[in-house]
Structures are given as structure tokens and as C-alpha cells.
């Protein structure tokens, strides 16, 4: 990454940050009544770095609906570089730096935004390749449907409805082709070695949350309807799922919220010129472990993910582990 790119990136992040902060201040925000009364997972579409990067990444801030923040994701892959069982293996490291936010529109609607910067490295024997640049940004509009406890007839009608802790979220969004797709790179064994898909994709999401005093669950199901890019190349449609169980305890002024979860992705085959390409579909199931530290309005999170089972690109690509670190500021 050269200096001018660095500066551009910093400018972009600053502008977006200011934009998001001003937007959020322009809307009314209901202050959370307790840490668990209102939390969301983030919408998390890390399609780039690219097709194996997934929307199953999990989540962001457990206890605050709305935030602006930054996240760093490190993903490791190993790809067989040739058609034989003893073909050399290349190692890929995908670094993703994201600016992400969840901004309320009103009490029922909110929007999540994600702008990634990709820094992808690949090494085979002594050869190293690097690819970097702005990745594919995404934006999703969400509708939140909370469930309330049943109120018996004897109680006063004036009493405010009590939140049951259960809620559903419906998301509709798009992933924009802001990252550059390089056709020459489709020759690579790992077709995810791209900063962008070059396509406009539709995202359909369904989330379910439950939060009690000391315990919570986040579940997110997403389907990515992928568009064809100008090279007549279309990444396979993708189904992603993620669920997390978390608890919380206070240590002095901080809240510590450890979580355990599973996540996964199922990919359809890649299509080019309207034909499917063999060995480009696959599935992966991950386990994840992590925690959040919350001090005032600052949330620091760490999430480590390890594959449990996988079969990506005909077994030619292996996802190793992923580490994600994030720092969010609650709005």
C-alpha cells in the first residue's frame, strides 16, 4: 500500500465517519434501558476477499443497537496450486479493515453500512503477490419486530408494553461493486483472491434475538443473490448462517461478555458465460469463540473462528482460522 492510497483511505474513512455521526445525531435515539434490552448483531457481509469471505462472520456489538466502529479481520487460507494431489500449496492471508456502522432511522428501522478495505497476500514457494484496495461496500435496511409480553386484562391499559426479550429483524440490502474485480485473477485456485466481485448483489436477511438478564442469543440467516459482473462472471449465490450464545458479567466499571457460536456458508457454483464451473461450490461450518469488553460507550471485541468441517472449491481451498478485532463507539 503506497502513501497516496493511505491518505485517500484515511480521507474516505474520515468523511464516512463524520457522515454517519451526523446522520445518527439527526435522528432520534432511544437510549438503551439496560445492556440487554436492545442489542443487535451487525449485518456482516464480508463477501470480499471474496467469495470465501463470508457473511457468516458473526456479529459485532452485542449490547448496542447503534454504533460506528472499525473492525479488522484476518483470514488464512491454503490453496492447492495445481491439479495434482502433490501440487504445491499457496498460503493466502486476507486482511480486511472495515468501517462499519449501524444507524437508526426511527424506532423500527435502522440501516447498517460496511465499507471494507482489502489487503490480500498470497505466497507460493518464494513468490509473493499482494492485492489491495477498497472492497465492496454494502448497505442494508432493517425492520425490527419486537415481541412483547402478554398483558393480562386486569392490568391498566396505560401500562407500557413490556419487552419479552425476543425480536426478529428483516433486512434487505445491496452489496455494491465498489471493489475492483480483476478478470485475470480468476485463473487463481482461490477465486476469492479479489478485492471485489464487480457485481451488484442483493442481500436478504432474517435475524432472531433473545436476551435475558444474563444470557442472550443472536441468530442471523442471510441469502446473497449475486449478480453477474461486466466480465460475465457470476459468483455463486450464498447462504450464510450464524448463531451466538453469550453471557455477561460486570468487572468494576466494565462489562465482559463472552460468547460461543457456530456459523457457516453454503456456496453455489460460479458461473461464467452462463455456464457453471466445476469445483466452485462448497460449504463450511465454523465454531467461534470471543468476548466483548464494554466500558461506557466504548466496545472492544475479539472473535476467533476455527473451521469444523469444510469442502470449498472441490477441496482445493482450505480455510484455516479467522481473527476479528473491532472497536465500536455506541451511538
Amino acid at each position: 500500500m503506497n502513501d497516496s492510497q493511505n491518505i485517500k483511505l484515511i480521507h474516505l474513512i474520515t468523511i464516512l465517519f463524520l457522515l454517519l455521526v451526523s446522520l445518527s445525531q439527526a435522528s432520534t435515539i432511544d437510549p438503551p434501558t439496560s445492556y440487554f434490552s436492545q442489542y443487535e448483531f451487525d449485518f456482516d457481509c464480508d463477501l470480499c476477499g471474496c467469495s470465501t469471505g463470508s457473511g457468516s462472520f458473526g456479529f459485532g456489538t452485542l449490547n448496542n443497537a447503534n454504533f460506528v466502529g472499525v473492525r479488522y479481520i484476518n483470514q488464512q487460507f491454503e490453496s492447492k496450486n495445481g491439479v495434482f494431489t502433490n501440487s504445491p500449496v499457496s498460503k493466502e492471508t486476507f486482511n480486511t479493515y472495515q468501517l462499519w456502522a449501524q444507524v437508526p432511522i426511527n424506532t423500527s428501522f435502522y440501516v447498517s453500512v460496511n465499507v471494507p478495505y482489502q489487503d490480500l497476500n498470497r505466497s507460493l514457494n518464494d513468490t509473493n503477490e499482494n492485492l489491495n484496495g477498497i472492497g465492496d461496500a454494502s448497505i442494508i435496511a432493517w425492520y425490527k419486530l419486537p415481541f412483547y409480553k402478554k398483558v393480562s386484562n386486569e392490568e391498566f391499559e396505560a401500562t407500557e408494553k413490556e419487552n419479552s426479550g425476543h425480536s426478529l429483524q428483516f433486512g434487505l440490502g445491496v452489496k455494491l461493486p465498489t471493489g475492483k474485480f480483476e478478470e485475470a485473477l480468476v485463473d487463481r485456485v482461490n477465486p476469492g483472491f479479489q478485492v471485489g466481485t464487480g457485481s451488484l448483489d442483493a442481500i436478504f436477511s432474517l435475524g432472531y434475538n433473545y436476551a435475558a438478564d444474563k444470557f442472550g442469543v443472536n441468530t442471523l440467516l442471510s441469502y446473497y443473490l449475486k449478480g453477474e459482473n461486466k466480465n460475465e462472471y457470476k459468483f455463486g449465490n450464498q447462504f450464510s448462517y450464524a448463531t451466538k450464545f453469550f453471557t455477561a458479567f460486570a468487572v468494576k466499571k466494565a462489562m465482559i461478555m463472552p460468547f460461543l457460536g457456530v456459523s457457516g456458508d453454503v456456496f453455489n457454483k460460479i458461473e461464467q458465460y452462463g455456464e457453471t464451473i466445476n469445483d466452485t461450490n462448497g460449504a463450511i461450518l465454523n465454531s467461534s469463540l470471543g468476548t466483548e469488553f464494554v466500558v461506557n460507550r466504548c466496545i472492544f471485541g475479539v472473535n476467533y473462528t476455527l473451521p469444523v468441517s469444510q469442502n470449498l472449491f472441490g477441496g482445493n481451498v482450505k480455510s484455516k482460522n479467522r481473527l476479528s478485532l473491532y472497536f465500536n463507539f455506541a451511538l
Partner: protein
């Protein structure tokens, strides 16, 4: 609410665009040509071929090679409308030499000025056909000199070596005995030229601005354990101009090629 409206508008765009991928089939390709690369990748079974590595075969025999070459000619491509493009004859002969392979073990054959089309089949010959041989020494152009320099000729009267595998083999009875598989037609008396036709797993789209690649895998093990299994100890360690042994190897060679995948760029 503006963001909401914008995002719904974007979503609508995505849905519309993902439904409108009708291809333009009226593309006029007349006169347009492109480059096509054929990658030859030698292997032994599911293993990549490496010089000096010992590979086991039937009859409890093993072999390792220091030379691995073969001749490919008459590359032709058939498109989705049934038209066949034959690469110009004078250029349509190549020596595939493992020693010239890149880091990935692939030997590139680059075909220029291939008619733009959507190709679904490739065919090529292993060796030199009788028509080309009948052109005489003069008619071979520069290729005769190249083949001689590469040790792919016996003599003009006997003709070309279609395969040249040099190395050693071991069996139950011998260790590191010389192994030389020099298969070819013998003058005009023995014709061991065979053509191989392979359908492509995906359409290969050749255009002025697109240079696709066809990845051909050659399984060397098939030469010895193909349609017929041969034993080095039993007369197949030294295969030269003999009509029987060259014929068996030539027949086995018909089954050694496959198209693993194609790349469209």
C-alpha cells in the same frame, strides 16, 4: 427516511440487474481472432510428474525419468455450431518438453490468430501423420531442424520419435536398468500416428480481447498401464522402431490425455 428510500432503490436495482443477464447472441465474430493457450501438464496418476522421482507401475516395477518429450500436431477446435478451426498446418506441430515447463510444471502452447468462436471440443494428434511426412524433408520447414536438435528424429528414412522417455527402471530382477521409450511411425511402413479428441468441460470463448486457456493433463502412467499393461522386463524397457512394441505404446498413448479444466479470461 432518506437512507431507507435510497437503500430500497438500490435493492430494486440489484434485483432488476440480476434478472437481466440475457446474452447478446447476435455478436458478429467474422474476421475476429484471438489467442488460445493450451497448457500441457504431465502427471503420473494423481501425482505431478517430477524428473528423478520414482513412480511405481504394474508388475512390481518402478521407473524414473530424466527426459520426457512428445510431439503434438494438427490441433483443431470445434465450436458450438459444429465448425472446425484447424490451426495453420505449417505451424501446427509442437514439441512438448517437460524440461521447458514453468514453476507449476506446465508447458504452454500458444496459438495465435485463432478464429473467434465458442469452442466446445479440441483434437490433436500425437506424433506426425503420414501426409506431413510425405511432404519430404523440405516440406517440414524449420521443424525438422528443431526435432533433430531435440533428439526427436531417428533419421529421415525412419522418421520422427513421437515420444521420448529416457530414464531407468527397477523390477523384481533388475535395478536401475536403462529405460528408453521412443515410439513413432517407422517411415511409411508402420503408422503409429493417432488423433485424440477431447470435449471441453466449459465453453472456451476466444475473442480479440480474451485469451482463454485449456488445461490438458497427460498421465504418463497410461503409456505403460493403459489399454494394455506392459512389463519393462518383458521387452518394453527398450521401445524403438519395433512395430509391435511401438504399436502397443501408441495405442496406450491415446488414453493419456484429458482436459482438466478451462480458464476464460
Amino acid at each position: 427516511m432518506k437512507i431507507l428510500k435510497i437503500s430500497f432503490a438500490l435493492l430494486l436495482c440489484a434485483m432488476v440487474s440480476s434478472c437481466s443477464n440475457e446474452d447478446d447472441n447476435t455478436e458478429n465474430l467474422a474476421g475476429q481472432t484471438g489467442t488460445l493457450i493450451i497448457k500441457f501438464d504431465n502427471g503420473v496418476g494423481d501425482q505431478d510428474f517430477i524428473f528423478g522421482t520414482s513412480y511405481t507401475k504394474s508388475n512390481n516395477e518402478s521407473f524414473q525419468l530424466s527426459t520426457l518429450k512428445y510431439l503434438i500436431s494438427n490441433i483443431a477446435l470445434t465450436d458450438d455450431e459444429g465448425n472446425t478451426f484447424m490451426y495453420p498446418s505449417e505451424k501446427n506441430v509442437f514439441i512438448i518438453n517437460e524440461a521447458n515447463a514453468n514453476n507449476a510444471g506446465e508447458i504452454y502452447v500458444t496459438l495465435d490468430e485463432v478464429d473467434a468462436a465458442n469452442y466446445t471440443n479440441i483434437s490433436f494428434g500425437l506424433g506426425i501423420d503420414q501426409d506431413r511426412y510425405a511432404l519430404g524433408a523440405e516440406g517440414q520447414g524449420n521443424f525438422l531442424t528443431t526435432a533433430e536438435a531435440e533428439g526427436m528424429m531417428w533419421s529421415w528414412a525412419t522418421g520422427y520419435r513421437f515420444t521420448r522417455l529416457d530414464g531407468t527402471y527397477s523390477s523384481n530382477t533388475v535395478t536401475n536398468e536403462a529405460l528408453n521409450i521412443h515410439m513413432g511411425s517407422v517411415g511409411t511402413s508402420v503408422d503409429n500416428y493417432n488423433e485424440i479428441s477431447l470435449s471441453l468441460p466449459n465453453t472456451v470463448v476466444v475473442r480479440e480481447d480474451k485469451s482463454p486457456q485449456i488445461h490438458v493433463v497427460a498421465d504418463i502412467a497410461k503409456l505403460f498401464d493403459g489399454e494394455t499393461s506392459v512389463s519393462f522386463d518383458d521387452g518394453y524397457a527398450q521401445v524403438h522402431v519395433d512395430a509391435t512394441t511401438t504399436g502397443v505404446i501408441a495405442n496406450n498413448a491415446k488414453g493419456m490425455f484429458s482436459v482438466h479444466h478451462v480458464h476464460n479470461e
